[in-house]
Structure formats: C-alpha cells, structure tokens
C-alpha cells in the first residue's frame, strides 16, 4: 500500500532524511517514532506528496508519486487523510465548514448529507453541537479533535496522524486512540501515526519504525521492537537516558 524506497531529503547541505526505506502493507498500522526533529513529520509530508524528496521513490496504492504533477497528485491525495501537528484548521471558516471541507471538495454528497455527517463525526469525537463555533474559540484539545474529525470524515483508505494526542489530557488521548482503533477495524485503513504516547500506539499499531537523525534505526513488529538489542531503540522504548 505504501512503499518508501531510499528516500533522501536535504535542507541546504544537510541530509535530514537519509536513505529511508520501508513498506506498509494494506490495512497495517505503522507507528512512526523517534526523538523530536528526526524527520518524522517531513517523512509523512513526503508520503502525502506535499514535499518532494531529493532522492528515492514513494509508492502510494501502487503509484509512484515523486514525479507526479500537482494536478496528478490531487487524485492521490484524495486517498489520504492527514491530521497535522499544528492543527491546520482554516481560521476563516467555522468548525462545521472545516470538517465539511473534504466532503465539499469531493463533491459527491449534497449539503443535507454533509451536515448530517458533520454532526455524526462531532458526536464521535465528543464535541456535539459546536458546528457554528469559530476556530479561535476552541481550546487546544478541541482543535485537535476537530482536526481529527476533518481528517477522517471522508473515510480515506490511508490515514496519517501527526501527533494526534499532543496537548490532550489522558482521558481524551485514550478516547482518540480508541477512535483510531475503531476506524482501523471498520475500514481496513492503512495508517501512519506519529506520537510519543507509546502506550496508546501499542494499542493500535502493528508495525513500528524508528527514526533517529533522519535514518531508520528500526523497522519491525511490536514484539520485535520490545526485544530490540539496539541501544537507542531500547532506550527510547523504555524511556531511559544515558545521563544519571
């Protein structure tokens, strides 16, 4: 479903992603972990076709996307729902219009159906009846859930969550992970989740990839990462530090 092959990306003369390769089969859920600034968000943007790599190939649903034009990428992006790290909610729209935006762009449903889907997804994320609120009236946690609702409302076959629980309280975080799990089961979605909440990730992810300084230092299953002999992986997994 998603194949990343030898992807390298430079910022200036510095490689921020170095020869990154992995494959996520259809229906699998990948946890992308690693310390801050290691290139996780950049990698998801490359998979979404928002950033072009300097080297390597990215295959999404059987199509190589790194050489596609913006118009050709539009068709690929319809298959992907993305939850952005910084919410990326449209501040010139209210909550309802933000969530309805992907459906309106798709153009398959009439306004009545769109409104009922928006209402339903808002109930699902525990924010019923806030359609007419403006984005600047929401708390960080509410914004995160609205972003989540917008990402999943079209039920795309591929979902990319960039830190879906950042800034949320433990109860809401747990609810979000339950939602992710439900979506995964309902739609056989292929997903990539970036998070530092390893407990939450363990509940939904079947595959793990760890990036350190732009390089993949681990790729494997949950069992394999638990038993990984690599020091940096073990330390990250156990939350240990070299410093005493």
């Amino acid at each position: 479903m998603i194949r990343v092959a030898h992807v390298t990306k430079y910022r200036g003369r510095q490689a921020v992603l170095k020869d990154v390769s992995f494959e996520i089969p259809a229906g699998a859920s990948l946890a992308l972990i690693g310390p801050g600034g290691c290139g996780k968000t950049l990698l998801t943007k490359i998979i979404g076709g928002l950033v072009r790599p300097d080297q390597g190939e990215v295959w999404v649903d059987g199509q190589e996307i790194t050489r596609l034009s913006e118009i050709e990428l539009t068709r690929v992006r319809f298959k992907i729902g993305m939850l952005f790290q910084n919410y990326a909610l449209f501040d010139f729209m209210d909550v309802g219009d933000n969530i309805a935006f992907p459906l309106r762009q798709e153009g398959k449903l009439d306004e009545e159906e769109i409104a009922s889907q928006v209402e339903a997804i808002l109930k699902e994320v525990d924010l019923p009846g806030i359609e007419r609120l403006q984005v600047n009236e929401l708390s960080g946690g509410m914004k995160r859930r609205v972003t989540f609702a917008r990402a999943v409302i079209r039920r795309p076959p591929i979902l990319v969550y960039d830190d879906p629980t950042a800034g949320l309280d433990p109860v809401t975080s747990s609810k979000i992970f339950i939602l992710l799990d439900r979506l995964q089961r309902q739609g056989a979605t292929t997903s990539i989740t970036i998070s530092h909440d390893l407990v939450g990730l363990r509940s939904i992810c079947t595959k793990w990839a760890m990036l350190v300084a732009g390089e993949v230092v681990f790729f494997g299953t949950s069992e394999e990462i638990e038993r990984s002999p690599t020091k940096v992986v073990r330390q990250f997994w156990m939350g240990e530090s070299d410093e005493v």
Binding site: K45, G48, L50, E70, I71, L73, T74, R75, R77, F78, I80, G81, M82, F84, Q85, N86, Y87, A88, L89, F90, D91, F101, P102, Q105, E106, R150
Partner: protein, 288 residues
C-alpha cells in the same frame, strides 16, 4: 596538491606564493556564489510569478468559481483602499495643479488649457500608476500576509491534502476581484484627482470650473492605454502578492518577509508593466 596542502597546513600567516594561489579558487567560488544566489533567487521568483499567473488565468476560465469569495475580495480591496486612495490622489491633484499653475503663471499666464492637458495625463499615466502603487501597498500586503500566515500554519498544506489547488482556491478570487476593483479604483482616483485639481485651480488661480473641465484633448488612445495599464496592474498585484505569500516559510518572520516581498515585487511589476504598456501604446498610437 600535497605541496599546497602542506603549505596551507604549515599555518603561515603571511599570505604569499602558493598559499594565495590555493585560496584563489575558493574566493572565486565564494564570489560566484554571492553573485549567483541573488540572481538565482530573482530568476526563480520571476519563474514562480509567471507560473502562478498561468495557473490563475487557467483556473479563471476552468472549473467552479467561488463567487461569494470574489465579492468578499472586491469589498476587501475597495474597502481597504478607498480612504487611502482618496487622500493620496486628492493631494496629488492639488500639488500637481498648484505647481504647474505657478509655472504657467510665471511663463504665459494662460490657464485655459490647464484642465485639458491635465486630464489626458491623469488618464494615461498618473492615475493608473499611482492608483496601482497605492493598491499594491495597501492590498498586496494584506494578500501576502493572509496567504503567508496560512502557509506557516500548514493551512495551505491542509488545502492541498484535501485535493485543492492553493492558486485556484486562494489566488483566483483575488485575481478576479483585483482586475475589477483596480479598474474601479483607478477610475475613481482619476475623478478625485481631477476634481481636487479643479478646486485648486479655481481657488489659487481663479480658473473657472467649466474652463478647467475640458475633455477636448482626451483621445480614445489615452483611454485605451489607461485601461490596458490598469487591467495589467490589476492582474499583477494579486498574482505577485499571492505568490509572495505562498513562498512564505518559517514562522511570523517568514510572513513579514512575504509582505515586504509583496510590496517590493508588486511595485516593481507595476512600474515595469507601465513602461512596457506605455511603450507599446506610444508605438501603436504615436502622439503628435
């Protein structure tokens, strides 16, 4: 190479002989880089502007338009610029007529042709360029700041992930509104400037209103050139400013750079287009 390396690593601070020769290629490379970087930046910006313009024209004629947003942008452009343009153009009209009136008084003392000469000048040159520069300053910054802040807060990425072309969604409504409202504002600014000039001529030089209000020297060519310039400026300002916004990066500092780039680049575009359209106009419709 080894010899040169040895010389350089020997740490001789006195820069003589081979040490100097070894430094030369890197100095040349540095000079080339320092010249090349701004040239590359200018060329890539010009390329991006033309690409954005091409896409804006393409999407203006293809696909569904956000007419509600076009109307909103018309209101924004008009509302943002009206007071500014009124004040600037009124003062410009007063200054131009007062200064030229002083010269006329000193040389011939005949004020009968003052309005007749001033109006074609306004229509053909002053109103389009001064009006467009005002719009570039007032509206261009707004466009760049809005789009730039959307870029740095990932809203433009969110648009793209929802299969929406940023140029189509954000620039095309401003492009259509820009063409229409620049024309409206330039016509308005011509009127304001002419009326302010007429009042000045009457108060300071006792020129009767009906003498000043003389359209006999206005040719169709003046109108055609004035309108062509205005339409070109109306297309250029939203495209150049919008492109500056889309090229924003980083955080609030990036938005600041984008707004500065929008004003500088739009103003340059207006002046260059004025030269090109004016030149073509003079070739097609030569003055006597």
């Amino acid at each position: 190479m080894t010899g040169v390396g040895a010389d350089r690593s020997s740490g001789s601070t006195g820069s003589t002989g081979e040490g100097e020769r070894a430094d030369r290629p890197s100095r040349i490379a540095d000079i080339l880089a320092s010249v090349g970087a701004p040239v590359f930046y200018v060329l890539s910006t010009v390329g991006d502007v033309f690409k954005t313009f091409g896409l804006a024209v393409y999407y203006t004629f293809r696909g569904k338009k956000r007419w509600d947003e076009v109307i909103n942008q018309c209101y924004q452009i008009g509302n943002r610029s009206l007071v500014f343009i009124t004040v600037v153009m009124a003062f410009l009209g007063m200054i131009l007529i007062f200064q030229s009136g002083l010269q006329v008084k000193r040389i011939t003392g005949d004020f009968s042709q003052m309005g007749a000469v001033y109006l074609p000048l306004l229509i053909r040159q002053f109103s389009p360029i001064i009006g467009a520069l005002m719009i570039a300053t007032r509206v261009g910054t707004g466009i760049a700041a809005e789009i730039g802040s959307m870029v740095v807060t990932e809203q433009v990425d969110a648009l793209r992930m929802n299969a929406t072309q940023p140029v189509k969604y954000l620039i095309v409504p401003r492009f259509i509104a820009g063409i229409f409202m620049t024309l409206v504002l330039v016509v308005y600014s011509t009127l304001v400037s002419f009326l302010a000039g007429m009042l000045t001529a009457h108060v300071y030089f006792e020129v009767p209103y009906d003498t000043f209000w003389d359209i006999s020297l206005v040719r169709w060519a003046d109108l055609l050139i004035g309108v062509t310039k205005t339409l070109c400026f109306g297309m250029a300002i939203p495209v150049v400013s919008g492109q500056a916004g889309l090229a924003a990066f980083g955080g609030s500092e990036g938005v600041g750079w984008a707004t500065t780039a929008a004003v500088v680049n739009s103003s340059l575009a207006v002046i260059m287009l004025d030269f090109v359209v004016g030149g073509v106009g003079f070739m097609v419709f030569p003055t006597n």
